[in-house]
Amino acid sequence: DAGVTQSPTHLIKTRGQQVTLRCSPKSGHDTVSWYQQALGQGPQFIFQYYEEEERQRGNFPDRFSGHQFPNYSSELNVNALLLGDSALYLCASSLVGGRVDTDTQYFGPGTRLTVL
C-alpha cells in the first residue's frame, strides 16, 4: 500500500522565481492538505483540496496556489519566491468520511525548498 509521495525531495531556487511541488495521496484517500514547516517550528496549514477545489485556506498570501487533479494528486505553486519561503513543504492526505480514530491525515516525507 503506497503511502503519500512527494516530489522533488530537494529544490533550490532564487528569489523571484516560481516553484511547483507535487504530491500523490495515500491509496484510497481523496483529500490533500499542504503544510509549511519552517526550521524549529511545527507545520503550518497552507490549504486543503477536495473534489478538485480549495476547501480551506490558512494565512498564506495569494502567491501560494494549488491544484488537485481527478486522480486526487495535487500541486502546490509558489510565485515570486522570497527568502522566507525556505522551508520543508509537507503534503498530507486523508479520506472524507473516514473513521475518526484511524483515517486521519497521513504525511509525506516533504520537499525541502531553499530560496537563495
Partner: protein, 112 residues
Amino acid sequence: DQQVKQNSPSLSVQEGRISILNCDYTNSMFDYFLWYKKYPAEGPTFLISISSIKDKNEDGRFTVFLNKSAKHLSLHIVPSQPGDSAVYFCAASEVYGNKLVFGAGTILRVKS
C-alpha cells in the same frame, strides 16, 4: 497567536521509564487532538488521537489524556524505548478532517 503550545522544547528519559509529553491549547472550539512523531528527513507519522468526548485513549505503549477544563493534553509512552527518540508534535482541529494546528514540537531523547 499560538493556539497550540508545547512548552518543553526537549525531554530526556531513561529507557524503560515513562515519557510524558505535554500540550496546552487556547481554542475551545478544538474538537479533535492528535500526536505525531517525526524523525529527521521524514514526514510526521501519526501516533494516536482523541476526540473531545473522551478523556483517555490507549494504543499499545501510547496513551493520550485530555483535560478539557484545563485545555491540556498529554502523551504517555510506557515503557520508553531508544527508537522512540524523535520530535513529537501535538496537533488539534475544530472539525475532524479539517486543518490541523500544530505545536512547535518536543524533542524526546530516550537513553539506553
